[in-house]
């Protein structure tokens, strides 16, 4: 059999607990000041630029990056604590989250020095927002079917085509996208795509909002028409994006955001049930708490492996697979238990509103950032089945 799965019982080191106190105190201040409402689900179309700048000023963006780029050279486990506390508090992280988790690390690895010096410090200060341009109208999970063209021209490339389902494109300052620079070859259908840095809000880029079933306008269609990108905006190897895509996924797939998206309904259920629950409520809550504890221990374990320089691709995919299914089912389990909550519970209305939003959010959780089907394919490969 293939190498056994590892989930060592990693504990967060003591510096994380001091940091956790600081983050909680900061969030409590922001809540008191009215910056956001912790009982209001994290609406992803909420854009709060001043909150991003404050988080940056605290040193909580680019935490693991080198200091010369504005980073703080702290551990992945410290970043983990900041991420989970923000998520559980329903803090408005949309503006900086993608840049901090994903785009920054890509730039660190593949961008030329002048671009790193220009952009990374601004991410760390919470000044700029990133989008990711992967999906196209006829290319979703099948990433390597992308058709949007980057045609070589003097000093750069001309971009033509359409990206879709692009979160935050309407507020983003930059996008990291893959474009077709060559046709695929017979031997390698993944050949011919190149990763680029795109500056948004420029001529030749049109962003069209798309309404979601939650009532939000959070993702978009992005149409490129003869948009010019200079040569130094190529990230990594021309035609070789397929070599670069996989190693980042472990970071993207195993974080606390992969099982805490609807967590707020559990907290609110406990509040509604009160301190003397009947057997049914107690059992339901007990199981959900046991499950979220287990998810978190798995997720922390993967963070520990990343910190140790390992590439736990299969373990990370497992965390996202069972984590997203858990957070997808959570509002439905809470709804079943909430049916027996006393009419007199003071937070009944809040719980009902939250449930309505969470149930509408649920379907996307097993689609975004790698579908359940794609993840299970990766796990199956790790098991030696394909």
């Amino acid at each position: 059999m293939t190498a056994a799965l590892r989930f060592d019982p990693i504990r967060l080191p003591s510096e994380c607990e001091q940091l956790r106190k600081e983050v909680r105190a900061f969030l409590a201040e922001e809540i008191a000041a009215g910056t956001f409402d912790p009982h209001q689900p994290n609406r992803e179309d909420t854009d709060v630029p001043e909150f991003s700048r404050k988080v940056g000023a605290r040193g909580w963006l680019g935490m693991t990056w080198p200091k010369k780029y504005g980073g703080h050279e702290r551990s992945f486990l410290e970043r983990y604590v900041v991420t989970e506390e923000m998520r559980v508090a329903n803090a408005p992280t949309r503006r900086f989250f993608v840049a901090d988790r994903q785009s920054g690390p890509v730039l660190l690895k593949y961008a030329p020095e002048n671009i790193k010096m220009d952009i990374l410090p601004r991410i760390c200060r919470g000044e700029i927002c990133f989008a990711i341009g992967m999906s196209e109208p006829n290319s979703g999970s099948d990433l390597f079917a992308a058709k949007t063209r980057a045609t070589k021209t003097d000093g750069g490339y001309l971009i033509n085509g359409t990206k879709i389902w692009t979160s935050s494109a309407h507020i983003a300052d930059y996008m990291i996208a893959i474009f077709r620079t060559s046709p695929p070859t017979k031997e390698n259908r993944r050949h011919g795509l190149t990763q680029f840095l795109v500056k948004m809000k420029q001529p030749g880029i049109q962003v069209n909002p798309i309404g979601q079933i939650t009532g939000q306008y959070e993702f978009n269609e992005v149409v490129f028409t003869d948009h010019f990108l200079p040569d130094d905006h190529v990230l990594g190897e021309v035609d070789g994006a397929w070599k670069q895509a996989t190693s980042e996924l472990a970071y993207e797939r195993s974080g606390p955001e992969r099982f805490l998206e609807t967590y707020y309904v559990l907290t609110e259920l406990v509040r509604a049930v009160g301190n003397n629950p009947d057997t049914r409520s107690a059992e339901g809550i007990g199981r959900l708490v046991a499950q979220v504890h287990t998810m978190r221990r798995m997720s922390v374990s993967v963070a520990g492996m990343l910190q140790a320089g390992k590439e736990p691709v299969v373990e990370a995919s497992i965390v996202k697979d069972i984590g997203t299914i858990w957070e997808q089912q959570l509002p439905h389990r809470v709804r079943e238990l909430a049916a027996f909550v006393e009419e007199t519970a003071t937070n009944r209305e809040t719980l009902e509103k939250q449930l309505s939003f969470a149930i509408k959010t649920a379907p996307k959780l097993t689609i975004q950032g790698g579908t359940t089907e794609v993840l299970r394919g990766i796990i199956a490969r790790g098991l030696g089945l394909r």
């Binding site: 059999m1 293939t2 056994a4 799965l5 989930f7 060592d8 019982p9 504990r11 956790r20 989970e84 506390e85 559980v88 559990l266 907290t267 609110e268 406990v270 509040r271 049930v273 009160g274 301190n275 003397n276 629950p277 057997t279 409520s281 107690a282 059992e283 339901g284 809550i285 007990g286 199981r287 708490v289 046991a290 499950q291 979220v292 504890h293 287990t294 998810m295 978190r296 221990r297 798995m298 374990s301 299969v314 373990e315 497992i318 697979d321 069972i322 089907e373 993840l375 299970r376 394919g377 796990i379 199956a380 790790g382 098991l383 030696g384 089945l385 394909r386």
Partner: protein
């Protein structure tokens, strides 16, 4: 895993590989494998891992003992190794020396109570006691008549009434009745030790065994899917089968993470607070759920052959299901955890989860 845990676990693995091979055991209708296995385990000091050397044991750490239990789960070992380890651990809390031979713990359910009579004898009934019939001695946790102060006692099994039964896996799960039984030795429990603590220790042991059994179920299911041909190709090439096995890997991973985290928490605990309680009961709950979901997939992948007594799959799948019932079922602990969370209040839930 620390170096010493490796050595102890490797010793156990080697004995199991030599003397507890599932295929061999499955073919042995007369149970002739049992005596040599128990002898080898005894010779290596594993049953009394958690007993200090000056109480007749081998003085291994909690962590080392837990690694033995994981290995025992991977081999679905069907001798009272876990039970003897737990009994030795219970007696060692009050420095009662462990005798040789098989032991088990009484009670083995959070609902059963053994009481101390005025004359110092013990009475009570305990259901679902694993391997009681095979044990020479019981490590008993008993309370005085008003359910107050607790004591640990060593009891001669021959002095108790035992109604034999079998669990889902076909291993002994018996009803033990003590009727004014004079213990061999008895001492008051250390301050703070209660029956919950014994149940949680037993529950974590069972969680590790379930996680180990799931690891093996994943391994043999993957292997089988790469051998079995249907519709002119290996069934591992069907996406439906691949996705089922990916789910089994997820359940196995969840059980492993929950159980090893709980074992680590207990091994490093200075007191049994809410945080250790969360770790221990969450492991029992999540591992029990994984035993159902994961075991179900392992059977589905195997088809009819996995439903036969000749095939080894049932040795793992049925034991994993049976182990759910010992030391408090997942439903029982879910209610207890739910009550604890409710009493702490909504705003203390996340701090509890994040404390681990």
């Amino acid at each position: 895993m620390a170096e010493s845990e490796n050595i102890v676990a490797e010793t156990a693995e080697k004995i199991f590989a030599d003397l507890a091979d599932a295929q061999t055991i499955n073919r042995d209708k007369r149970g002739e494998w049992k005596a040599p296995l128990w002898q080898a385990l005894t010779d290596s000091g594993l049953p009394l891992s958690w007993v200090p050397e000056d109480c007749g044991g081998s003085g291994a750490s909690l962590a080392e003992g837990f690694s033995v239990l994981s290995a025992a789960g991977r081999f679905a070992v069907a001798v009272p190794l876990t039970e003897t380890m737990l009994a030795g651990w219970l007696l060692a809390q009050v420095r009662i020396s462990s005798p040789g031979g098989e032991m088990t713990v009484v009670p083995a359910s959070p609902k059963d109570r053994i009481t101390i009579n005025a004359d110092g004898s013990l009475s009570g009934r305990a259901r679902g006691v694993p391997f009681a019939k095979a044990a020479k001695h019981f490590a008993v946790l008993a309370s005085d008549a008003n359910g107050g102060s607790l004591s640990m006692a060593l009891v001669d099994a021959a002095k108790c009434r035992i109604e034999t039964g079998l669990n889902l896996g076909g291993d002994p799960s018996d009803v033990v009745t003590l009727d004014k039984v004079q213990p061999v030795a008895i001492k008051p429990a250390p301050k703070g030790f209660d029956q919950t603590r014994l149940m949680l220790m037993g529950g974590v042991a069972r969680s590790l065994q379930i996680a180990g059994a799931l690891e093996s179920m994943l391994e043999i299911s993957v292997r089988y899917s790469n051998e079995r041909v249907a519709f002119e190709k290996k069934i591992s090439k069907f996406q439906a089968v691949q996705h089922n096995l990916a789910r089994l890997a997820g359940e196995s991973a969840a059980a492993l993470a929950a159980a090893t985290s709980a074992a680590d928490a207990i091994a490093n605990a200075t007191s049994f607070d809410d945080e250790v309680f969360l770790e221990a009961v969450a492991a029992k709950i999540r591992c029990a759920e994984a035993a159902e979901k994961g075991g179900g997939i392992a059977h589905q992948v195997h088809g009819a052959i996995g439903f036969t007594v000749e095939h080894i799959l049932h040795r793992y799948s049925l034991r994993a299901l049976a182990w759910r019932d010992d030391f408090g079922s997942e439903s029982y602990w879910a209610v207890e955890l739910g009550k604890l969370v409710a009493v702490r209040g909504a705003d203390e839930l996340w701090p509890l989860v994040a404390s681990r």
